[in-house]
């Protein structure tokens, strides 16, 4: 659906069903240089199982207008403003990668609004190496292809896909290329600069599930485990052999784990 926020048209995927606002929502937050399409196999799945799904494209991403935001704090504040304007009182936030930082920041600062967290392939800090930062500024196509390559695990590199005929790498590249050309750069800078994650984690008492990838080259597993260990009310699941793009690579397991978590 389209939604107007701060004079900007925002696209929000609702999983193919009209968003039925009962005051709470399942909000899916995409990662750096991604958009709502990260959640292709989550948004429909949950929407058709009765969850009011919102998978927004952050400004300058996917089908949203506007310019990309430049800090994690700004993204968290934007998210709360979005929930306000949609009259959503409370939300379960599910983040992927950078989306985990946004979720953690929002949960720590707005505890009454955020009831639960699903943190997929995340960490409390996501430092970005200088080379990739420079590339995202000077050679975007290269940065996209490097991230798509690092972002996928061994099965994905073999183009072994549960979606018949689909190529993870081809799709991953095109998805990122469809964003505003500032999107990736701003996202990576925002991740790199965000240092409040550890502090935020100590404030989070909501239930959390961490779903981590065993072969994650973007946010290495040990940082994901450290994140889970820093959150008092958390459980973790590790999917061996999977790459960073867990929602696409291992949709059945991710959906199953999230659904179990949401039912408790």
């Amino acid at each position: 659906m389209k939604h107007q926020l701060f004079d900007t048209s925002i696209h929000i995927a609702t999983g193919g069903r009209p968003f039925a606002n009962d005051g709470q929502a399942l909000v899916l937050l995409h990662g750096s240089g991604q958009n709502h399409l990260t959640w292709v196999l989550q948004s429909r799945y949950f929407a058709y199982r009765g969850f009011p799904v919102l998978a927004p494209d952050f400004p300058g991403h996917g089908l949203s207008g506007g310019t990309p935001l430049d800090s994690i704090e700004a993204m968290a504040a934007w998210l709360i403003a979005l929930l306000d304007s949609l009259e959503v009182k409370t939300a379960c936030l599910v983040g992927h990668s950078q989306g985990c930082l946004v979720a953690i920041d929002a949960a720590a600062r707005y505890p009454s609004r955020i009831t639960r967290l699903g943190l997929i392939a995340g960490a409390l800090a996501i430092p970005v190496n200088d080379q990739l930062l420079t590339m995202s500024d000077k050679a975007l196509a290269k940065a996209i292809s490097v991230m798509t390559s690092w972002g996928h695990g061994p099965m994905a590199h073999m183009h072994d896909n549960t979606q018949p005929g689909h190529s993870f790498l081809g799709y991953g590249n095109r998805l990122m290329a469809s964003n505003n050309e500032m999107a990736l750069r701003n996202d990576l800078m925002a991740c790199n600069q965000y240092s409040a994650g550890q502090d935020a984690a100590t404030k989070i008492t909501q239930p959390v599930i961490c779903i981590l990838a065993g072969a994650d080259r973007m946010t290495p597993l040990k940082h994901g485990i450290a994140m889970a260990n820093s959150l008092v009310n958390s459980q973790k699941i590790i999917l061996a052999g999977a790459g960073h793009m867990l929602p696409a690579e291992r949709p059945a397991e991710v959906n199953h784990a999230l659904r179990g978590f949401l039912a408790t």
Binding site: H11, A13, G16, R17, N35, L37, V40, L41, S43, R44, Y45, Y48, G62, L63, S149, P154, M155, H157, M158, H159, D160, N161, T162, Q163, P164, G165, H166, S167, L169, G170, Y171, R174, L175, A177, S178, P251, A252, N255
Partner: protein, 434 residues
């Protein structure tokens, strides 16, 4: 692994990882129509495209999916769908994209059935085509109308071997807000990956070089994922509500793979042009050696061109690698590894000499296919293009003495000896006629 796998590795491996239960190294043939659902919820999820997986082989099949993922990987596309033949690929792609009163701008220099489909069959359903010489860029641009939904052509035309400037035509399509769809049967991704030049959809007859052994008919439609279906209101069945799946908007839900999602949900579902798993298996065997075969096809083609060009019974030879071909420079730039293994030529003595030649070869086979590992010859005017009118033949750059040769992988000395023998037979016949 440090980077992405390269072409030769993908040809062997893409799409298949041995399964845990049996560990089959080769791709298993899943010769089944259907797949047992875990429960009703699982079944509903598959129908609703909430989950990847297979429910009925008309729509998808695990063996066929390996082939699809392999061709998508080799082309650098976002997804591919395999079909029962190259013609099924083209017909279904057009029907998925176009509706009544839509229009196509197409190359006039193409395979006879491609021309027939667009010129004679589709108009019955309200889809019309303007044909333009593929080298006439201004003509292509001028032929675009408000209801034009795609530009279509062959990179290397069959059998005239006209070369399309993919990058230039892609720019024209891009400016008009319509996709460029190409039949890439003759070039294969080993010679050219047209998505890198801006093409948007690729059609293959897998029957030819990709299968490579003349054992199975098959086709594929590869989605470049690089066309923005929502940029205008020309594609309401992709970027607007579609009756399938609760009024789904394929563009919003599947992004770069929107066309493929619609192709599966409508094209495979309603038309049913499915590739059989066994044929997919045979084609996969061929794909494994595509790079090796293509190199050898190019080597033998170069030798054959030298031989034919120097032979005093040969009236003319046409191939994009020859300096006098109008597309020579373009072909060299787009396809530095070679411009395919089809050669066309005419003999002194015209149509009759040609017929004697074709009836005299022993090693080369006289048949309708191209791209087999074996050397093939045919006389298009009396066979593949016999349904095309004389004017259309000339418009298509074809003469009635033309012999189409698909250069195979045999020891070149043997093909050469076979041709020399058949040339002698043609000369003898010419002499007898006086």
């Amino acid at each position: 692994m440090s980077g992405d796998y390269k072409f030769d590795t993908l040809s062997l491996h893409a799409g298949h990882v041995p399964d845990e239960r049996h560990g089959s190294r080769a791709v298993p043939i899943h010769q089944t129509t259907s797949y047992v659902f875990q429960n009703t919820e699982h079944a509903a999820a598959l129908y609703n495209q909430e989950l990847g997986g297979h429910l009925y082989t008309r729509i998808s099949n695990p063996t066929v999916a390996v082939l699809e993922q392999r061709i998508a990987a080799l082309e650098g596309g976002v997804a591919a769908t395999a079909t029962a033949s190259g013609m099924a690929a083209l017909a279904t792609a057009v029907l998925v994209l176009c509706s009544q009163d839509d229009h196509i701008v197409s190359s006039s220099r193409m395979y006879g059935a491609n021309i027939n489909l667009l010129e004679n069959t589709l108009p019955r359903f309200g889809i019309t085509t303007s044909f333009v010489d593929p080298s006439d860029l201004a003509g292509i641009e001028k032929a675009i109308k408000p209801n034009t939904k795609m530009i279509f052509g062959e990179v290397i035309g069959n059998p005239g071997l006209d070369i399309m400037d993919v990058e230039a035509v892609a720019k024209i399509a891009d400016k008009a807000g319509i996709p460029l769809m190409l039949d890439c049967t003759f070039n294969t991704p080993w010679l050219l990956k047209p998505f890198t030049l801006g093409a948007n959809i690729i059609i293959h007859s897998l029957t030819k070089w990709i299968g490579g052994h003349g054992v199975a008919i098959g086709g594929a439609v590869v989605d470049g994922g690089n066309f923005d279906w929502g940029q205008n209101d020309k594609f309401p069945t992709i970027a607007g509500p579609h009756y399938a799946m609760d009024g789904i908007n394929f563009y919003e839900e599947f992004g770069p793979a929107a066309f493929t999602a619609k192709f599966r949900a409508e094209g495979m579902y309603n038309f049913g042009p499915s590739l059989s798993p066994t044929n997919a298996f045979h084609i996969l065997q061929g794909m494994e050696t595509l790079p090796l075969r293509m190199q050898r096809h190019m080597d033998n083609t170069a030798k054959m061109l030298a031989f034919l060009s120097g032979h005093d019974q040969v009236a003319w030879v046409r191939h994009p690698s020859l300096a006098d071909h109008p597309g020579h420079e373009l072909a060299k730039r787009m396809m530095p590894r070679g411009a395919g293994s089809i050669i066309v030529f005419g003999l002194k003595g015209g149509r009759d000499a040609g017929r004697t030649f074709i009836e005299s070869v022993e090693l080369a086979s006289h048949l309708a296919n191209v791209g087999d590992a074996k050397t093939l010859v045919i006389h298009p005017a009396s066979t593949t293009h016999s349904h095309i009118s004389a004017e259309a033949m000339i418009e298509g750059g074809l003469s009635d003495d033309m012999i189409r040769l698909s250069v195979g992988l045999e020891d070149f000395d043997d093909i050469k000896a076979d041709f020399e023998m058949a040339f002698r037979a043609a000369a003898k016949q010419q002499k007898a006629r006086g």
